[in-house]
């Protein structure tokens, strides 16, 4: 056990855990950020995606030790009231079905759109293909990403 200081959604947290503890479980069980989900435990499904310094990262494969010096953003920290443009686009398209994978989908999409604000369909497919949804919300996610991208562009103009 060791003491780590994590910067999550702009807040400092001190916790005492094993150095190899995955960030996922620390976020969920030690700090109560349960919006980040456990899906596979091996970085294969994307349900646990959070941002480390703005980059989409699989929290189930990231040790708490590795995350210590980064700014960590979870779905809870994306916006205060669910009004981030990507969350808004998801809302407009009524994307979620069971909803379990959607935090990870949104976090992946946000970091992707930051890198590529004007994506093609192929860009979207390629950026999102590592996030699994078993309900099959992929068509709605595509629409939501296009909607968010369009909005972002028109805001820039």
């Amino acid at each position: 056990m060791k003491i780590f200081t994590l910067n999550v959604n702009g807040k400092q947290h001190s916790i005492s855990v094993e150095a190899d503890a995955p960030l996922l479980w620390v976020l969920r069980d030690e700090l109560g950020y349960t919006g980040t989900k456990f899906g596979c435990g091996r970085g294969l499904c994307g349900a646990c995606t959070v941002h480390l310094d703005g980059e989409a990262t699989r929290s189930c494969m990231t040790t708490v030790e590795f995350a210590e010096d980064s700014e960590i953003t979870t779905i809870e920290g994306l916006s205060e009231d669910g009004t981030h443009p990507v969350q808004q686009a998801w809302f407009e398209e009524d994307v979620p079905q069971c909803g379990y994978c959607q935090s990870g989908q949104i976090m992946t999409a946000v970091s992707f759109l930051n890198r590529n604000p004007n994506p093609t369909e192929a860009d979207i497919d390629s950026a999102m293909k590592m996030n699994i949804c078993r309900c099959g919300t992929y068509p709605s996610i595509r629409k939501a990403i296009n909607r968010a991208a369009d909005k972002q562009l028109s805001a820039d103009e």
């Binding site: 456990f38 069971c98 293909k129 699994i132 078993r134 595509r142």
Partner: protein, 711 residues
């Protein structure tokens, strides 16, 4: 006390609600059964509806929300008949309470179909009571009043009162014996693309899945089961994990070995490292080849007759244009995104459970049995389900949590790893389908035989579920086979049970998934033998102006079946009716660079009255995507008595870049609504397989379709 129904009235009201509801649906505001008097400021005409003085209305939902939209679509039915202002409607998932809410079993695409009449009456009854209360207040005939957006209106005097201001008065109104329901032409909520009530919390991390429940003083656990089916725990070596800090206790439970720790992470780490010795039992040598051999062996003899029409033998004998084919499909895992888990807090005198379950009442009953507590002392809260697809209708994971909490005398969150989840599922059964068909000199299909050979879900769960069961005919196994929709003069469908130690269960669309694959691919083989276009061949076998025919006709028109130019995409067609819903699909597929790509799917659907078109679209699209995973990618195989696959690397599923453009076309109808959670799935695999044939000339008779199979 004229404001309260007497016991006789109470029962009469219940009996007019139909749908096999249990006593207790209609509770008067003074709950005589409990002997308690409630404050009348909340109007509660029945268990589903609570009107608050601020004019908001809370609607309880008795079916589990697993993504299919029941938290929105079921309240829409009540809101329609009650004329509610939808923006002030709040919804709540009901806890397990069979006496209060009736059957809460969520599955079989039945939620809307089985609640339709009942919820319309519940809403209409509440509306009428509101009208009576207002009419009395104003001293006008009830017949002169109307309702709109949670208000009663008296047009002649230009007066209106909100439902919220009438709660006390409406509670004094006797519950009407008969209510009239709206003419569908008056619907203003049903049929609209209304946004889901559960969307917002699913976008900001606030939606509570059972995985997210946190209780004071909670410990965490995982369970390791015998990797070989039927194996038993022999011993475990605690010293092998002595270096892992935070393990609290390791002990045997009914289904395996429980590892309790201070965090899930520690429990999982310990579970993976712990040296466990299993008595492998008698299934150690089982593998997929042996299972296949069993099915082949079984297929040689006739089984229990599921459907017999005319004389197939005679018809086949007199034909010189016969076709034979054997189709096969593998086991499939559900692989819900949320692995099985449950939180339980067993105390001396009560037990509280938070479970993502499709069968709340059964979970509650079993927990009562495990703990020895009366059912009333077992509180079972249904959380959001992170996917169901049939997996969560079996509550083995709930039992685990209850057993562990009982031993620990503490609240416990029990979580399976993805590997446990995938290797201890109740799988979609593997199956073999022996098909024969005969065509006469005029190119008409005259005979059809279909032998279904598969493990039986009913048989494996018979102890718990006494279904009709004679001569080893599992009636579920032949769903979609025995009731094939085509008008063929001679039909024989039989079933041979081929049980294996691999647990089997309900998987989205159940046996309709395999039977439709065999039916609809074979139909294409027969169409070719008859020298006919697959669409024309099917239409000829369907009665004029039937729903089957209409759905195929709409599909052909919307997809442009007849005018489509092949290359680089090729098209295939299928039709299947399941769960009361008629579905036809066209798949467009290209085969190149070692890959089969589905570019586009058109899907026509007749599910009767559509409650919420966008939810129906999402369910149909979702079922197609789930079906495409099984058609193109995933399968479960067995070696050494255990499942080979363990996670999403070796059980790969459809990804966004592999997802076709999906166009859903709904038939307009005012027939009673039927299910939409499952019926989109069965036609997907055969439509794709038929398109692959069009592209390559290779018949696909085995799923999943691989590139190796067609080169």
């Amino acid at each position: 006390m004229n404001n309260i129904m007497d016991r006789r009235d109470f029962i009469r009201v219940v009996s007019t609600t139909g749908s096999g509801l249990v006593l207790g649906l209609y509770l008067p505001y003074t709950n005589k059964l409990n002997g308690k008097t409630k404050a009348a400021t909340i109007f509660e005409p029945n268990v589903w509806i609570k009107v608050h003085p601020d004019n908001s209305v809370l609607i309880m939902v008795g079916k589990s929300e697993m993504g299919q939209g029941v938290l929105t679509s079921l309240p829409m039915i009540i809101a329609e008949e009650m004329d509610l202002d939808w923006s002030t409607v709040k919804v709540q998932q009901a806890p397990a309470d069979k006496d209060k809410y009736g059957s809460q079993m969520t599955g079989g695409s039945r939620s809307i179909a089985s609640s339709w009449k009942q919820l319309r009456k519940a809403g209409a009854t509440a509306r009428e009571m509101m009208i009576s209360a207002a009419a009395k207040e104003w001293g006008v005939p009830a017949g002169d009043c109307t309702t709109k957006a949670s208000h009663v209106i008296h047009n002649m005097s230009n007066r209106k009162m909100s439902y919220g201001s009438l709660t006390e008065k409406a509670s004094q109104v006797p519950i009407p014996r008969r209510v009239s329901l709206k003419n569908p032409k008056q619907f203003s909520i049903i049929g609209k693309n209304i946004k889901r009530k559960d969307t917002q919390p699913k976008l900001n991390g606030k939606a509570q899945f059972s995985m997210d429940v946190q209780l004071e003083g909670m410990v965490y656990a995982t369970v390791v089961r015998s990797p070989v089916f039927g194996g038993q725990l022999k011993s475990f070596d605690e010293a092998s994990i002595s270096d892992i800090q935070g393990v609290i206790k390791i002990f045997k439970i009914e289904n395996g070995l429980a590892i309790v720790a201070r965090s899930i992470w520690v429990a999982i780490k310990a579970g993976k490292r712990l040296k466990i010795t299993w008595d492998k039992g008698e299934n150690d040598a089982l593998d997929s080849n042996k299972i296949k051999a069993l099915l082949v062996e079984k297929s040689k003899k006739q089984g229990a007759i599921a459907r017999k029409k005319g004389n197939v033998k005679k018809a086949i004998k007199s034909s010189d244009n016969q076709v034979e084919a054997v189709y096969e499909s593998p086991f499939q895992a559900h692989a819900t995104m949320e692995p099985m888990n449950c939180t339980a807090d067993v105390q001396k005198n009560k037990c509280r459970i938070w479970a993502a379950t499709q069968a709340p009442a059964r979970a509650q009953k079993k927990a009562a049995k495990i703990t020895g507590l009366p059912i009333k002392k077992v509180e079972l809260n249904v959380t959001y389900l992170g996917g169901g697809f049939g997996r969560r209708s079996i509550n083995d994971f709930v039992n685990d949590a209850v057993e562990i909490s009982m031993v620990m005398e503490k609240p416990v969150k029990m979580v399976w790893t993805r590997e446990e989840d995938m290797q201890h599922d109740y799988y979609r059964p593997t199956s073999l389908h022996v098909m024969k068909g005969a065509i006469d000199n005029e190119n008409h299909l005259t005979a059809w035989t279909h032998r279904v050979v598969a493990p039986s879900i009913l048989f494996s769960q018979l102890v718990k579920m006494p279904f009709p069961f004679k001569e080893k005919l599992d009636i579920i196994s032949v769903e979609g086979a025995k009731n094939i929709r085509y008008d063929i003069p001679n039909i024989l469908v039989d079933y041979r049970m081929a049980n294996t130690p691999v647990p089997v269960g309900w998987w989205r669309s159940v046996y309709d998934s395999q039977n439709a694959f065999a039916n609809e691919c074979f139909m294409d083989e027969l169409a070719e033998a008859a020298g006919k276009d697959p669409l024309q061949f099917r239409l000829e076998l369907l009665p004029k102006s039937s729903r089957e025919r209409n759905v195929l006709t709409l599909l052909a028109e919307k997809a442009g079946w007849e005018t489509f130019n092949s290359g680089p995409y090729y098209q295939g067609l299928s039709f299947h009716k399941s769960f009361g819903t008629y579905v036809a699909q066209v798949a467009r597929v290209t085969v190149k660079d070692n890959t089969i790509k589905v570019g586009e799917i058109h899907c026509a659907v007749d599910c009767g009255t559509v409650i919420n078109p966008s939810i129906v679209d999402a369910q149909i699209s979702g079922a197609i995507i789930y079906g495409l995973s099984a058609a193109l990618k995933s399968k479960i195989t067995v070696s050494n008595g255990r499942i080979d696959q363990s996670n999403f690397d070796d059980f790969d599923v459809l990804r966004m870049d592999e997802t076709p453009k999906i166009h859903v076309h709904l038939i307009e109808s005012d027939a009673a609504p039927s299910g939409v959670g499952e019926p989109g799935l069965p036609p997907a695999a055969p439509a794709v397989a038929n398109a692959v044939y069009a592209a390559t000339g290779k018949r696909i008779r085995r799923l999943p379709i691989t590139y190796q199979d067609i080169i």
